[in-house]
Symmetry: C2
């Protein structure tokens, strides 16, 4: 179990070391649980982990998930009023095609688009950390 997420654990430890932070039981627990998710909210994480440790505080979940973001293990995404923390290692990055008729969501990847994004960023002096691309429209079924 611990060896399963060795890569992320190493990334976390490296980040902790560089910033004079400490490895705690909570951080290990949360990392282990988080890596089994694709994307999850802090609140959902809180309820899920309450079974394993009823005294784990919500603030600690938030602090730790934000820590994971800093360490490059997670990525925060804002949906409406909520923040979802994506497991970066789980999949390569994917964008979304969203049908405004039936709300179906199709995930896709396109290397050429990613490359062009980098190009745009460079031209403007930016270094991209993350991005978000959503295409809204009608799927074949809803168009009729």
């Amino acid at each position: 179990m611990a060896t399963k997420h060795a890569k992320e654990m190493a990334a976390l430890k490296e980040h902790l070391g560089k910033h004079q932070l400490k490895l705690t039981r909570q951080r290990e627990m949360i990392l282990s649980a988080f890596l089994q998710q694709e994307h999850i909210t802090a609140e959902a994480m809180y309820h899920q982990m309450a079974k394993a440790d009823p005294h784990l505080g919500l603030a600690t979940i938030y602090r730790t998930l934000n820590l994971f973001c800093d360490a490059g293990i997670a990525q925060a995404r804002h949906f409406g009023s909520q923040t979802k923390y994506d497991n970066v290692s789980h999949k390569g990055h994917h964008d979304h095609l969203i049908c405004t008729g039936c709300e179906k969501i199709v995930e896709f990847e396109n290397e050429e688009i990613e490359r062009l994004q980098e190009e745009v960023a460079t031209r403007n002096g930016f270094t991209i950390k993350t991005h978000r691309l959503e295409l809204y429209g009608l799927c074949s079924r809803c168009r009729h």
Copy 2:
């Protein structure tokens, strides 16, 4: 002044008509002020408009900007904990480069990306109506 934003005014009136809503002094004022912005938060709008009408309520600003979204005049975008309302008519397509350091926003257009988006959509049987592309990272100044 009123004729300047005739197109958006027409779009608003059409939406109001279809939904049994009414055209009010506040909606006209807010539309006029909003169309002079590229993108703005409700809070900023509130302070700005306080000069013209000190009694205009914040709730009305929110309600009206959301109304504009429904009418297709504005588009809401979540950045951190805040929501920014984009003026859709300001430019045809404008995507965003967003600095996570200083919150600077650079707009850009890239026809090649747009073309590839269409391609992806077509391949998945979708017809795109709108899209949203945001690149998050650090601008040259914040990188140091």
